[in-house]
Every structure is written in C-alpha cells, then in structure tokens.
C-alpha cells in the first residue's frame, strides 16, 4: 500500500485519516539527537531563555509537552508588567524586575511586542489600607521604581471616574503596563526559532540519565543528548528536577485563580490597572479590574482555592461569584454580569522558598532550575540573561553569533491598522480583506499567517489571532477556522483539534453513524 507524504501528515491511502492523524511538528521525529543546551518547557521562561541563548553560537533545543507554546501558566497570565513596588528589596524577584525594566523598551521594539503602559492605581479603603499603600510606596522607592505617588480620592477619580468614591487614597504607579501575555511568549518563541533554536512540541520528558558528556534526556519521542539542561517546566519543574534526584525545592499547585473576561464595550470604561488589597499583610496578592491589551475588561480576585490536581483548571462557581463581587467593590457602577464573555482558571506555581529560583542544581553541574512564581512575565528578559550567565559560569563557551537577528515582526492585525495600511495589505493579498472572525475583525490573511507560523490547533489560531476570543466565543468563526486549518495543513476537518491530541472537534462525518448502526 502506498504511503503519501503531504507536507504535514503521513497516512495510508484508503485508511481512515482519523486513525492515523498526526501533527505538523511530529514529522521531524527528533531528528536532532544532540544539542548543547536543552530547555524543558516553552512558557515565558523557556522561550525567553531560548531567545537569549540564540544570540550565541551553539545548538539549543526546546521541548514542550503541549502542542504549542505558552499553554501552561503563561496562557492564563493577565499580562501585567509590574513596576516592581510589590516585591521586597533584595529578593531575586525584585532584582529580576528591576533588571528587566532596563531592557524592556528595547525588547518590545525588537520583537514587536504588544504593550501599553497604562499605569496602576492601588486603592485603599480605610486607614489600615492607606498605611499599606504608603509602605508599598516606600518599598517601591527603595526598589528604584519611579513616579510613585499617593493620590487623594478626588485626584484618583479624576484619573479614573469609575473607581469607588469611598476610597480614602490610592497609590499611583505610572510605570505599570499591560502585555498581551500570549503574544509575549510568541514573540520570544518566533525570534528564537528564527535564530536557529530547534523546538519540539508534544514532547514530554520522561527520564533524565547522566552521561559522560552531560545528560541523556528521554522523551516520548526519542532520546536527546545534551551538555546542559535548563528546567523551565513551570508547574512541572519539581517533577523534572526530581528526575536527577534534585529535591531542593517543591512546587505547590494549591493556588488556583479565576479570572473573568468582559466585553470590549466595558474595556473602554477603565483606563488603568485598578487593584484592591486582598491581604493586608501581603503586597503581591491583590484584586484587579483592568483593561487587557485588546481592550477587554479583565477582573480577578485571589481565592486560595486548592486545585484538585496539577492539571485542574476548572472554573468553580464560588470563585466566579466572589470575583464579580470584589470587582463591584473596586468599580461599583459598572454592570459586569451582562457583559461576561468567558472565565478561566489558572494555577500559580508557587515554590516552597517564596522567591524566584534560578540556579545551578547542587546535584549536577549543567542542570539549571528555573522556577518563577509571579511576576514571571515582567521578568522574562532578565531571567534569560541570568540563565546565560549561570551557563557561562558552568563552562559553556559563549561566542556571539554574527548572524543573530534581534528583530521579529508580529502578525499584521487588521483591527490595529489604518485604512491606508489595510488597503495596501489587501492589494498584496486579498485574504486580508476577508473577515473570518467578526467580533475581533480577524481576516483569513491573519489566520493563514498564524498557521504558517506554527498554529496547529483551533486554540493555537485563537491565541495568535484572537479569532474566537470575542463576544460570540467562536460561534460564527469556528467552522470557518476549522476549514482554513484543514486546508492549510492538508488535513480533513475531522482531524482538526481544539488543543492537541484527544481534542478533535468533529468526531464523525455526516451519515457515518448511520452506517455504523446498519
């Protein structure tokens, strides 16, 4: 029987495609067997480390168990770029924030990162809370955060008319900003890939063995020999560390937080990140009402809610109701409920040391643990640099690549383009004139480009282009995106998944069930 090799898939003619459906990336079934540095985990930490390493002449590989980048904690991040007042002076987290702020502007520019510096207002409702924000201000100043200012109720309301007028004062942090969190991971990933980093999806590390040259990392898709391992596996970093017998830290996954996304119609009403104090003793636990980069409104309240397992991302009704209730306290005059688009939960990987962990394992030189509790997103650039420094100290030769290209361009978004730019785009490729997702104005051109850049699933397209993220939640565009994915990837629509293996959207062809029955 002849085998057909059609770009993305390999299948037997005449066989049911769904029986042998495979992934885009799996065709290379680990053709590399050797690398200098292997990074485990393609979240914000792994991708920013990969990009930093891609500046040097060496072989770097990145393995990810999911079919796409950023599908762990990064996906559920709010994308706040913290100015750095909330973390105590001298902690590694605080240093990483400070160092990252020295380079963010440059990196945002190089990588075409979606970012808005909108500022934060931390509200205080009583005398105790006023003291809290005053202390926060002093700590921020000690940390080198600029522009901090305590505002009166009146001044706050002038900046942000929807804030609860019952506040006593607010701390204004003008340097706070918002990223599109998924866009951020993509930016690092795409630039790392363009500079030669090999990336393998749906590749799960199962065992790590020692070898004279370094490590043999066993995965579900074959073995990889590497001199160095960077463990950036997020929630799973403890599991990976234990593979070499390193028990120096533990990760708890008992903080699940729920966040609700509201219609863009409300996003226009709030201009700043508005936060309220959730715990008078802890600076970095706060309730939030904020616009997202894409102008939705996001509300969140920290509810210490034990997750059932490390994979548990279910939304609990109690968390949902409390989040709405707390948001109402911060901005009482916004009617949230009729404008809810969706809600999701994420797990925060907190470690037992209460600070960032970025260090060489004591068990084996050449094995680096990276465990970032929040604010991982804010610290991405400094984390990458820190890991490179540790690798250098461990003997990895660093020779700058002459051909390193620091620049990456984001997918051109119609919704953010001027009429002139749109006309030019459509003249070059008329698919940019064909709107597929009506709620977010996403065109066929953008979707095809996202697939070209590696989106292999419905969620992959959604996170890259926002098709399906709007108010109808994919009601209209899902069938169309599935069709484009199938066409571009040379698959049948029945092989398209929501989020990788086991999540096919369409299980049977029309009349197929009747044939089975007869």
């Amino acid at each position: 029987m002849p085998w057909i090799l059609s770009g993305a898939t390999t299948y037997l003619i005449g066989s049911e495609p769904k029986l042998s459906w495979r992934y885009f990336h799996s065709i290379n079934d680990l053709m590399i067997h050797k690398t200098d540095v292997l990074i485990v985990g393609a979240g914000i930490a792994g991708t920013s480390i990969a990009r930093e390493l891609s500046k040097y002449d060496m072989k770097v590989a990145l393995v990810e168990k999911e079919p796409d980048v950023g599908w762990g904690q990064s996906k559920a991040s709010f994308g706040i770029c913290h100015p750095g007042a909330r973390w105590p002076n001298g902690t590694l987290a605080q240093r990483m924030i400070y160092e990252s702020h020295q380079v963010w502007d440059q990196i945002i520019d190089e990588l075409g990162i979606e970012f808005l510096r909108i500022g934060e207002l931390a509200l205080a409702f009583n005398q105790e809370e006023v003291q809290h924000i005053q202390a926060l201000k002093s700590q921020g100043e000690k940390n080198g955060v600029q522009g901090l200012e305590i505002l009166s109720t009146q001044e706050t309301l002038q900046l942000e008319p929807y804030v609860n007028p019952k506040i006593k004062a607010a701390l204004y942090m003008p340097k706070a900003g918002i990223f599109s969190p998924f866009g951020l991971v993509l930016a690092f990933y795409e630039n790392a890939k363009a500079n030669g980093v090999d990336i393998y999806f749906e590749t799960k590390v199962t065992e790590i063995c020692l070898d004279q040259m370094g490590f043999i990392v066993k995965t579900n898709r074959g073995d990889i020999r590497t001199k160095y391992v960077v463990n950036a596996a997020g929630l799973f970093s403890q599991v990976i560390a234990q593979m070499i017998g390193d028990n120096s830290f533990s990760i708890s996954y008992d903080t699940k937080s729920t966040c609700i996304i509201l219609d863009k119609y409300l996003g226009e009403k709030v201009k700043h990140i508005i936060t309220g104090i959730a715990d008078i003793k802890i600076y970095h636990r706060f309730k939030t009402v904020m616009p997202t980069f894409h102008q939705n409104l996001l509300i969140y309240t920290p509810i210490p809610e034990p997750s059932k397992s490390i994979e548990d991302r279910s939304v609990e009704k109690r968390a949902f109701d409390l989040t709405l209730q707390d948001a109402k306290l911060l901005v009482p005059d916004i009617d949230f409920k009729p404008h809810i688009i969706t809600a999701f939960s994420g797990i925060t990987a907190r470690n037992n040391r209460g600070d960032f962990i970025i260090e060489m394992s004591n068990n084996h030189p050449g094995f680096i643990n990276v465990a970032l509790p929040p604010p991982g997103v804010t610290c991405a650039p400094a984390v990458g640099k820190k890991v490179v420094e540790i690798l250098k100290n461990a003997g990895l030769p660093l020779i700058k690549k002459s051909k390193f290209n620091p620049n990456r361009k984001a997918i051109k978004r119609i919704i953010h383009s001027s009429m002139g730019e749109i006309q030019e785009l459509v003249n070059q490729d008329n698919r940019y004139g064909h709107v597929i997702c009506r709620c977010e104005t996403v065109t066929e051109g953008e979707i095809v480009e996202a697939i070209r850049r590696g989106a292999s699933t419905l969620d992959g397209v959604k996170f890259r282009t926002r098709a399906g993220m709007g108010r109808c939640q994919g009601g209209f565009c899902t069938p169309r995106v599935v069709k484009i994915l199938a066409r571009e990837r040379g698959l049948s629509e029945g092989e398209i998944t929501k989020k990788g293996s086991g999540s096919r959207l369409l299980l049977y062809r029309s009349k197929e069930l009747l044939e089975v029955k007869n």
Partner: protein, 419 residues
C-alpha cells in the same frame, strides 16, 4: 473604493436585509446597496434545512434555503447591488460606512439612509458561567447546525443539549436522524424556551428526554468532553442539593438564547433598549439616530423568519422615505412594559397610523388578559416567553389614547374570565 449616490444601504443580507432592500427598491429607491459579510445571501437560513419557514409570509411550508432563495431572486431581479464578503467595520452617526471587502479592500459609502439588519448571535458558554473544565465538544446549537447541515460533520455521538430554544430542539431531532444519541435536553425553566410545535415535533416525536427545571452545573473532561453534571433547580433557579446526576456525553450543545448584534449600532450612537438588546425604534423602525433604521433580529429576536421579513420591510420602506427627504416629525407616544411584559417593539408609536405591536412576557402565565392602555384587551389561555404576542391596533383605536405613555400589561384573571 468609494461608492457614491447610494440612497439606501442595507447592512446584512439575511432574511431581514434582503426584505428591507427589496422593499426599498420596490418603493422607488434608485440605488440600493447591500453589504454582506458572508459569501452568499441568506444568512443563517442556509443551515436551517428543516421546514416550517414561510407559513405566514408565503402561505407555504418551505425550508430555510428555499425561503432565502425566494428573496435572493427578488434581490437579483430588481438589480439591487450586493457586495458579498464585505464586512462593515465602522458606522458613524452621520451615516458614514466603512467596510472591508475581499475583492475591493476598504470601501467607503455615505448613503442617504441605512437599514441595520445584522441579525443576532447565540449566547455562549462563557456568558452562562457554567463551572468546570474547558474541553473540546461544547458548541452553540447554531454552530453545530452549520457543521452538520453545511459542512457535513457530526460533532459527536452522545449529545446533551442545554436550553430548549428552537435551534436546540431542531438540532436534537437532526442529530437523532444522523444516528447520534441525544441523552437529554435540559431546561432551567419549568417550560420550554422555544415554540410548542418544536417541542412536539422534535422532542416528543423522537422520544428525547426533556429535563425541565434542571441545569448543567459542571463540565467534565480534559481534552474532549466526557460528561456533564445536571441538577434540579428550585424556584430561585439555584441547584437543589441531592439532585446531582452525571450524564456521560461527548458533546454539549447550548441553546440558551440569542442576542441582537448591535456593535455597529452602538458605534453610531444608536440608543439600545436593555430589554430587547436591540435599538429603540419607532413604528417606522427608525432608531434614535435620524436616517438609521433597523429591522429583524437586530431589533429583537423573533420566533419565526416570516416576522423578521415583515419588520424589515417596514424599515426598508421608511428608509426610502427618509432618503427622499420625507421624514415628518410626529407626536409620539412611548410604550412601556407593565406587569409581566418583558418588552414591547416598537418602543414608540404615532397615533395616526395602524400599527402592529410585538411583545414578550417575562413568565409563563395562564388565564390572562393582555391590556394596551385602556384601548385594547385580549384574553389568552396561556402566555409564554418563547411565544411572541402580536397586537394589531388601528389608528381609530390609537386615537383614543391619552397622555404620552402607554402601558402594556398582563392581567391575571384566573376564575373571572369575563371580568
């Protein structure tokens, strides 16, 4: 591309848009333009392959595509210009339209009048806030309908349907016919949300279990849906303890309501009625912005397409008169929903012309009398939110109205039918 000298521009070529454009042309508008985002006219009718369309408008039992075809032919025969794959992205209060088209790129039009006919969308899972995981296999009923009837794909074989809207019930039958098993239709209210004829023809005739006063309280499954938990609800519509049952299924369809699509209307500054979700309109279907009219499901969600066409015809006719400069300010009376009335459309009327009012009740009620001010009353054995009430009033009746406001209300007359 800039289009000039357009008298009436219609946004949307679904049943409402086609009817509005045809009426505008028939009433003498020279240049009528339809802007449609899809690749063909007809809107969602294409995926409605079942029958039951046109009973009122054509006096015939048609399928959705047949119904659409009749109007599409009229549009063609009358020489109405249709731009397909053209999505309006901006609309201003001075009637400036900006659209994006696959063939032309950016299109600018400033017509003399506009008819909004964007229709409605389905409420999604996120809006309901159903707790649980987020696996594949959860679709709105309309999305599933497109997959089954247009794309030729069946989402799964063990189906639970939340909500008893018409599309949900029709999809229950459709999937049974495809060999899938519909495990349950779950409705939070004590009665169905759609039309009685669909309850009988789609659920009862196919032996599909209907769980009234139940709702889905949790979604299970990692990658693909594995099961849902349903629970009985009390009078407050909150789940009652001890009533949990888990139904194994691979697909959950949602048929939990439709929302008029008014993002463009808002952009143009059109005042939206929070009760209908659509623009506040007068009896000519003019919105709060002069020269912008609206008809069909963008105004309020109708039960049957025949009424969508009729309402859009009013808007199309009025748009022509406006384009000719024929708008006359008249004294208006505001209609107000009273006891057990969720909304009334139009929201204001003149008293010099006959008018048809459309109203929906909040709750099901038996043995009631509907009253319009003190000029009209009618007995109903039962009123249900799922069945729109239509009230024809003549100008001679309306002439008796006093004051600026008219209240519609449902009066409970149990035991005193003639009272």
């Amino acid at each position: 591309m800039k289009l000039k000298d357009i008298d009436v521009a219609v946004i949307g070529a679904g049943p409402a848009g086609m009817a509005a454009a045809v009426r505008a042309k028939e009433e003498g508008a020279e240049q009528v333009l339809i802007l449609e985002r899809q690749e063909q006219m007809g809107g969602l009718l294409h995926q409605c392959v079942h029958n039951g369309f046109g009973l009122f408008y054509f006096g015939q039992d048609l399928t959705g595509p047949q119904y659409a075809h009749r109007f599409a032919e009229k549009v063609r025969d009358l020489g109405i210009r249709v731009l397909l794959r053209t999505m309006v992205t901006q609309l201003s209060s001075d009637r400036q339209i900006t659209a994006l088209s696959k063939s032309e790129g950016v299109i600018n039009v400033k017509p003399k009048s506009i008819v909004l006919a964007m229709g409605c969308r389905e409420r999604s899972r996120g809006q309901l806030g159903i707790p649980g995981s987020r696996p594949a296999g959860i679709f709105t009923a309309g999305t599933a309908q497109r997959f089954v009837n247009v794309e030729g794909w069946i989402p799964g074989r063990r189906i639970v349907i939340l909500g008893s809207g018409d599309i949900g019930m029709i999809m229950a039958r459709r999937l049974m016919l495809e060999g899938a098993e519909v495990m349950a239709v779950v409705e939070i209210l004590p009665y169905i949300g759609g039309l009685t004829r669909n309850e009988v023809q789609c659920l009862h005739d196919f032996g599909i279990p209907l769980f009234l006063e139940h709702t889905v309280t949790e979604i299970h499954g990692g990658q693909r849906l594995e099961a849902v938990t349903i629970e009985k609800v009390g009078r407050d519509r909150e789940p009652m303890s001890g009533t949990k049952r888990v139904i194994e299924c691979d697909t959950l369809l949602l048929s939990v309501g439709l929302i008029p699509e008014n993002e463009l209307s808002r952009m143009a500054g059109v005042v939206i009625d929070p009760l209908t979700g659509g623009p506040v309109v007068d009896q000519w279907r003019e919105t709060s912005v002069p020269g912008i009219f609206a008809g069909g499901n963008v105004v309020h969600v109708h039960d049957v397409v025949d009424e969508v066409s009729r309402e859009a015809e009013i808007a199309g006719g009025s748009a022509v008169r406006f384009a000719r400069g024929g708008a006359v300010e008249e004294e208006r009376k505001i209609l107000k929903p009273g006891r057990n009335i969720r909304y009334v459309v139009p929201q204001s009327i003149t008293t010099r012309h006959d008018v048809t009012l459309y109203a929906r009740v909040r709750e099901m009620e038996e043995d009631v009398r509907l009253r319009v001010g003190d000029i009209f009353s009618k007995y109903f054995r039962v009123v249900k939110p799922g069945e729109m009430i239509k009230i024809d009033l003549t100008h001679s009746q309306l002439g008796l109205l006093k004051g600026d406001f008219v209240e519609l209300s449902i009066e409970d007359i149990k035991g005193r039918r003639n009272g």
